[in-house]
């Protein structure tokens, strides 16, 4: 096997998701699974977080959606990171996504008890604002990256009471509007599709530990070359390297690792 062929590991089941308004596992999600399954990436993470000699890494995913990416890396932790003593958290602005993610990850880990990490919780949060500074070792972000003329505001979620219930089948006009709004949050990235990603990059130095690595998904419309310039321009040894790239329909998607 060459280092460009991803390991073949089972994809977590998301069959419990019926009509909840969460981002369904898609090409971008699967590209993240492939990125972590590349033998070259397994080599990178296992040398950066050596088992037995370094403390357990905290793995956090922002915008878990269906939970499929976190479920995959958590369930196959021993294979992907050569250690099971990893703790994971999922963050999403949507309460519905968080309850769905709890199920996806718990099921996947229960199916792979001998390789699974320990999943702690899903938390409703705007990016990483709920976290204690400098504690994340592996951060995963599949952002709303599609360039759009308007960028949906989080104020409906911040100031509304609707977050208290899991939306399954839209019944009222209110439910339907909420569903449409939640789905727009999953993809609409505003100018260059970078408005949310830019906010995360601003927080990065406060969020990642010294050994921390961000895995970031971009599309061609995000102008990855400009993002690399921006990251290296942050100084303090920050770098951004391509992990994997793939054409998906009309999009070219890529996964990058950002670390110092």
């Amino acid at each position: 096997m060459t280092s460009t062929t991803p390991l073949k590991l089972p994809t977590p089941s998301t069959s419990h998701i019926t009509s909840q308004p969460v981002y369904p596992p898609s090409e971008d999600s699967y590209l993240l699974l492939d990125a972590f399954s590349l033998p070259s990436e397994v080599a990178f993470t296992t040398s950066r977080f050596p088992a037995a000699t370094t403390p357990p890494p905290l793995l956090v995913e922002i915008g878990t959606g269906s939970g499929v990416v976190s479920a995959f890396v958590a369930a196959h932790a021993l294979t992907l990171f050569n250690r099971r003593d990893i703790i994971t958290l999922g963050l999403d602005v949507s309460f519905t996504a968080n309850t769905v993610t709890n199920t996806t990850i718990s099921k996947a880990c229960a199916e792979h008890p001998s390789t699974a990490a320990t999943f702690l919780d899903s938390i409703t949060s705007d990016l990483t604002t709920c976290l204690k500074p400098s504690c994340v070792d592996i951060l995963i972000f599949n952002p709303p990256y599609v360039p759009t003329s308007e960028h949906p505001s989080l104020s409906t979620l911040r100031d509304g009471k609707t977050q208290q219930k899991v939306i399954v089948n839209s019944k009222s006009k209110e439910d339907y509007d909420m569903e449409e709004y939640l789905l727009s949050l999953t993809y609409a990235g505003g100018e260059k599709g970078m408005e949310t990603t830019d906010r995360l990059l601003d927080q990065l130095h406060q969020v990642l530990s010294e050994r921390g690595v961000l895995y970031l998904l971009l599309c061609a419309g995000n102008k990855p070359v400009e993002v690399v310039e921006r990251v290296t321009g942050m100084g303090r040894g920050w770098k951004m390297e391509l992990v994997i790239e793939r054409r998906a329909g009309w999009e070219i998607l890529s996964i990058w690792r950002v670390y110092r």
Binding site: P56, R84, C135, D159
Partner: protein
């Protein structure tokens, strides 16, 4: 929300991040449940060095558990596998095993189903509903 998770959270208000009072957040009106989680002594003993122990003692006492004031010293061990594939502690003393079982029960299996977490700096209350804590701030606090 698991008790252990509180060790990684602090107030989402920007001005609070630098305040020592914003960590740990304080549990209030917590309804607890016990949820079975696979016992992983290797994780627990390796995790101890990176935990903020005083914060854990505070969080635990707010939920009715008493942890020792000093972080337990667990003897290093070599991991081996039992027949059913579960990690077991080889060479871990009986005392260490007792401590790890206790930590597992308190940190991993104690779940806050409903309740609040309060910031000691600004007083903001974060709700916990169906085990999911809500850290989205209202617009006027962003």
């Amino acid at each position: 929300m698991k008790l252990l998770t509180a060790n990684f959270l602090s107030c989402a208000v920007k001005a609070c991040k630098s305040s020592p009072l914003s960590f740990p957040l304080h549990f209030k009106d917590a309804e607890l449940a016990s949820k079975s989680v696979p016992y992983n002594p290797i994780l627990l003993s390796n995790l101890l060095p990176r935990l903020d122990w005083p914060a854990l003692v505070t969080s635990s006492s707010e939920l009715g558990f008493t942890l020792p004031q000093q972080k337990p010293e667990i003897t290093p061990f070599t991991p081996t596998s039992s027949e059913d594939g579960d990690a077991v502690m080889s060479g871990a003393g009986e005392e260490d095993e007792k401590t790890l079982r206790m930590l597992h029960k308190v940190l991993m299996e104690t779940e806050v189903v409903e309740g609040k977490m309060v910031c000691g700096s600004c007083g903001f209350e974060y709700g916990i509903h169906q085990t999911v804590a809500n850290f989205l701030l209202p617009s006027h606090l962003v």
